[in-house]
């Protein structure tokens, strides 16, 4: 009997194979089969949450089997507080995305197979505890996404999809060299050649090498996030992708970048992370402001939402590199939040497009009068994206800003301006699309939400309120893992500083900055508060 993680990773893949074998020409059957498989995956993944022990930072549901023994490659899976929510979000969003793809009419079986294969890749990325295995999933996942955008996308789909693949690969191939280097470096120093992540955590690379390795990993993740200035593939991919593709892209794929930063960049190369933190924060806040400003002037709703992602992901990266409990936990929660709110927005834009075959803001107006229910959902998603208290976005952004203020007040101030700007571009767009009088005849004849569309949006909106009003179940899971991560990173940095004192080398700037605030203190504060 395969373990839970293996089941949820490969169940969708089995579904994809089945679809290719028997689904051709049977559209209704293909849709249903894909929905059943993805829903089953989601339900099984819920058991992860039920069985998850939030009190420990250790990996759970661990599965391990040798794969290429001679090279120390193993098939090893596990989840901890950092990846658990992302796994659940992936399975949920895939199910909703499939439900939202009911109106795909060409090559349905292939489309659904690609969606399911994509799910396998994404889940594999979040669950791998072996660097090699991680890399395999990381790249293999590109292929279904490439096909989704390229076959079922808009007019410039080929340009967009090739750009997407090449950008992502540019980063990840350099990461591959870094992975190999790390493997031999660790092997030469310890005598065990392994790609096992936990073993590699325990190993400290010397400072000089850390910088290069960090940069190679970071570039790969920064492109995926995407961090300014590596974001140019994103608007193209988003605009050309089919609705479900955009939902998955924004909801899950971008999170693979931020997840990688937390899972690999910080714990594997803590010294380099400290060294590069100021630069990364600069890029993040530039991204926050730049993404917001560009979003403001977009005439196309989908492009606007795409640029808003650049801005929101800037928050998440900034929160990660604040490197304290609030920032990191906020970032992890915000990854889920962004998946929900931006996913919902893309779904809504898709519904508009289905009805009117346009996404230009100027083509709409007065939707509140003609499609009230739709407009309510649209408003909730918009407000959630802005970060209105009571909805999910607020909790995440608030925690991130709190963490950022504690560690780097200046960056905190600039980042906070992003919240204001988000309100400007989102509300302005919303006003032009939904309020006012419907001027065009086409807008007067619009149909309101169908039953299926209700089914797609309701779960998302419920979660938005749930996280917004009672975030504890979502924050609690990541606490232990985050605390462990921070203490791991800090202790490595401190050991290095001790060495620095012994050798009269100046301490790293970053450590000095934090020595007063002391993030270890802040972790303790959280503890005492929880008690």
């Amino acid at each position: 009997m395969p373990g839970t993680l293996t089941t949820i990773i490969f169940l969708p893949f089995a579904g994809a194979v089945l679809l290719l074998l028997v689904g051709r020409g049977r559209d209704g059957f293909s849709r249903l089969l894909a929905l059943v498989v993805s829903a089953a995956t989601f339900l099984i993944s819920l058991s992860l949450y039920m069985g998850f022990d939030a009190s420990t930072s250790a990996m759970q549901f661990v599965e391990e089997a040798p794969w290429v023994e001679s090279m120390g490659i193993s098939y090893s899976l596990g989840v901890d507080g950092i990846s658990l929510l992302l796994v659940l979000m992936t399975t949920l969003l895939t199910t909703l995305a499939i439900l939202a793809s009911w109106n795909i009419n060409s090559r349905v079986a292939e489309y659904m197979a690609a969606m399911l294969a994509l799910e396998t890749g994404m889940l594999g990325v979040f669950c791998s505890l072996d660097l090699f295995l991680f890399y395999v999933f990381w790249e293999a996942m590109l292929i279904p996404m490439y096909l989704l955008i390229g076959i079922w996308g808009g007019e410039r789909r080929i340009y967009a999809t090739v750009k997407f693949v090449l950008y992502t690969l540019a980063g990840s191939l350099l990461m591959l060299v870094a992975i190999i280097y790390l493997y031999f470096h660790h092997g030469a120093a310890t005598g065990t050649y392994t790609f096992d992540l936990i073993a590699l955590y325990a190993f400290t690379v010397e400072r000089g090498a850390q910088y290069w390795l960090f940069l190679a990993f970071f570039l790969s993740f920064a492109i995926k996030v995407p961090l300014f200035p590596f974001h140019t593939w994103l608007p193209d991919a988003h605009v050309e992708a089919p609705t479900a593709g955009s939902v998955i892209l924004a909801g899950v794929l971008l999170k693979m970048g931020t997840y990688g930063l937390i899972r690999f960049c910080l714990p594997l190369f803590p010294l380099a992370a400290a060294y590069f933190t100021p630069y990364i924060l600069v890029l993040s806040v530039v991204g926050i402001v730049y993404g917001a400003l560009v979003a403001m002037v977009q005439p196309d709703i989908k492009k606007l939402v795409a640029y808003s992602s650049v801005s929101h992901l800037g928050f998440i990266v900034a929160g990660i590199f604040a490197l304290n409990a609030q920032g990191l936990q906020g970032s992890i929660l915000q990854m889920v939040n962004h998946g929900l709110s931006t996913g919902a927005l893309f779904l809504i834009v898709g519904m508009l497009y289905d009805r009117r075959h346009t996404r230009q803001i100027g083509d709409f107006g007065g939707l509140a009068k003609t499609v009230p229910v739709f407009s309510v959902f649209f408003m909730i998603a918009t407000l959630s994206s802005i970060g209105l208290p009571g909805l999910n976005g607020f909790v995440g952004e608030f925690l991130i800003l709190l963490g950022l203020f504690k560690a780097f007040p200046v960056f905190g101030v600039i980042a906070a301006s992003g919240v204001v700007l988000a309100a400007v571009y989102m509300l302005w767009m919303f006003q032009r699309v939904v309020w006012g009088e419907p001027t065009l005849q086409e807008n007067k004849d619009l149909k309101d939400l169908s039953g299926r569309e209700w089914a797609v949006l309701v779960p998302v909106v419920v979660l938005m309120f749930w996280i917004g009003l009672y975030p504890k179940p979502f924050l609690g899971t990541s606490k232990a893992s985050v605390r462990h991560l921070i203490s791991h990173v800090r202790s490595q940095q401190m050991q290095d500083d001790d060495k620095a004192v012994a050798s009269d080398r100046p301490k790293s700037e970053y450590r000095l900055k934090n020595s007063e605030g002391g993030s270890l203190v802040s972790t303790q504060q959280i503890d005492s508060r929880d008690r």
Partner: protein, 478 residues
């Protein structure tokens, strides 16, 4: 003189089959070659079984000129797989193009025999003989469509440039013999190790010429000029054959010479091969970018792949040689597989050579589309395919030796290559069909595609076994 029959067994099987095919031609001179094809397959299968049974044996004879070890057996297996897959796809193809003859299979077998001699030769003369036997057979095969000018032109070019390469090689052998007084690989190695001839200019000259000769055969830049024209002009089944076996044979012989004889000169040749690898990868991939014809694209891609294997040679460690062998095996499957699909979806006269003519194929012929996509993804080096793991092992070997810049050049080249390999996938799946339904072909070709796709996936997903086999060969090089 005692003759060591075990040592000769694989060669005898192939040579015997070749003779039988020759006899068949006497009995049925005007046949379409189907019977010869089956006979060839039988011989290849028998030899493959012998190879598997002999695994682990270590025989040598003929005054140390020939050896049978894991290294030569592994190489022989690669050649036989290449030949077998080629035969499967040839019958239908030749019938369609109207060129089916017994000689075709005879020449495949003699070429294979030549390759096997190259793999098991431990004397420069034997290696040279093998190389010539292989090359002469190939010259004829390339021009096998006698009534087609492109085929003739390709054959002529191949012959002329091949003759040059042979000249270089032979001159190199002569210079080495002149310095050391032996053509035996072990004795050359011993002489160099003991420092009997240190840094001799004549020796270095000989080694360089030797390298040039092999560089021609593996189509390393700047000696690759023949490859696109020959690949393009040759019958597609022959192109597939050339791109796999003969290229592997040249690598196999080169590796044995470098490891067994010229190891003491590693300092000198490693940097040369380093540059050769970097240039070959880069020029191959950049040239492939702008190709319209799929055969020319694959020709340049095969140049680029020679560059990847050269990366392993530059590293020169056990791990690197293992990686090179593993890669040659993987490449045999994925490349021949790709050509097999090209044949199967093509039409008489091969109009279907442009990448743009594959538009819509992915949905019109799903299985063929999926297979070609798989081969392209594998050639591009994306997981979870044989091509990915092959590249991974090669770059690992380079990084281990501290050749990080070479590994980075390699991965950046992979990035470039993704563009043109995926352009085939783009064409197949993302562009509307041009509405031509290709003619059906004999089902034999599908065997090639089937075997190749399964192997590409299996080697990619469960590489342990193959990696272990490749590793077991390295011992005999030390």
């Amino acid at each position: 003189m005692d003759i060591n029959w075990t040592l000769l067994l694989p060669h005898l099987i192939v040579a015997g089959t070749a003779l039988l095919v020759l006899c068949l031609d006497i009995v049925r001179p005007h046949s379409d070659g189907k019977a010869a094809a089956w006979l060839t397959l039988l011989g290849v299968a028998a030899c493959l079984i012998a190879t598997v049974k002999l695994w682990g044996a270590w025989e040598y004879g003929f005054s140390g000129m020939l050896v049978l070890d894991n290294y030569s057996l592994f190489a022989t297996a690669i050649f036989l797989i290449g030949t077998g897959l080629t035969v499967f796809m040839s019958t239908g193809y030749l019938a369609r193009e109207g060129g089916g003859r017994n000689e075709y299979y005879l020449l495949l077998l003699t070429a294979t025999l030549g390759m096997m001699l190259m793999a098991s030769g431990t004397d420069l003369i034997v290696i040279f003989l093998g190389l010539e036997l292989m090359s002469l057979s190939l010259y004829i095969l390339v021009g096998f469509f006698r009534d087609r000018p492109v085929s003739n032109e390709a054959s002529m070019k191949y012959l002329l440039l091949g003759a040059f390469a042979t000249g270089f090689l032979l001159y190199g052998i002569a210079l080495i013999y002149g310095t050391i007084g032996s053509t035996n690989l072990r004795e050359i190695g011993l002489a160099l190790k003991q420092g009997r001839v240190q840094g001799d200019l004549m020796l270095l000259g000989g080694a360089s010429l030797l390298l040039v000769g092999f560089a021609f055969k593996i189509a390393a830049v700047p000696f690759h000029m023949w490859a696109p024209d020959v690949y393009d002009g040759a019958p597609t089944s022959v192109t597939a054959f050339i791109s796999a076996g003969p290229k592997a044979a040249a690598f196999i012989a080169l590796i044995r010479i470098l490891m067994l004889s010229l190891k003491p000169l590693e300092h000198e040749w490693a940097s040369v091969i380093w540059i050769l690898a970097a240039v070959t990868m880069t020029v191959g991939n950049l040239s492939a970018l702008s190709q319209q014809s799929i055969k020319r694209m694959l020709a340049y891609s095969s140049v680029a792949h020679a560059g990847y294997v050269l990366v392993a040679l530059a590293a020169g460690t056990d791990r690197a040689i293992t990686a090179a062998l593993f890669y040659l095996l993987a490449y045999t499957f994925m490349n021949i597989g790709a050509f097999a699909v090209i044949i199967l979806v093509g039409k008489k006269g091969e109009e279907n050579q442009d990448i743009s003519s594959y538009a819509g194929l992915g949905f019109e012929r799903p299985a063929m589309g999926l297979a070609l996509a798989l081969f392209m993804i594998s050639l591009a080096g994306l997981p979870p395919t044989a091509g990915f793991f092959g590249k991974f092992t090669i770059f690992s070997a380079a990084v281990e030796q501290g050749m990080i810049s070479l590994a980075i050049i390699g991965v950046l080249n992979s990035l470039v290559s993704v563009y043109f390999y995926l352009s085939v996938v783009v064409s197949m799946y993302m562009r509307p069909s041009t509405g031509s339904s290709p003619a059906a072909l004999s089902p034999m070709g599908y065997v090639t595609v089937g075997i190749a796709s399964v192997a590409t996936l299996v080697i990619g997903l469960a590489p342990s076994r193959f990696l272990a086999l490749a590793r077991e060969t390295v011992a005999s090089l030390m």
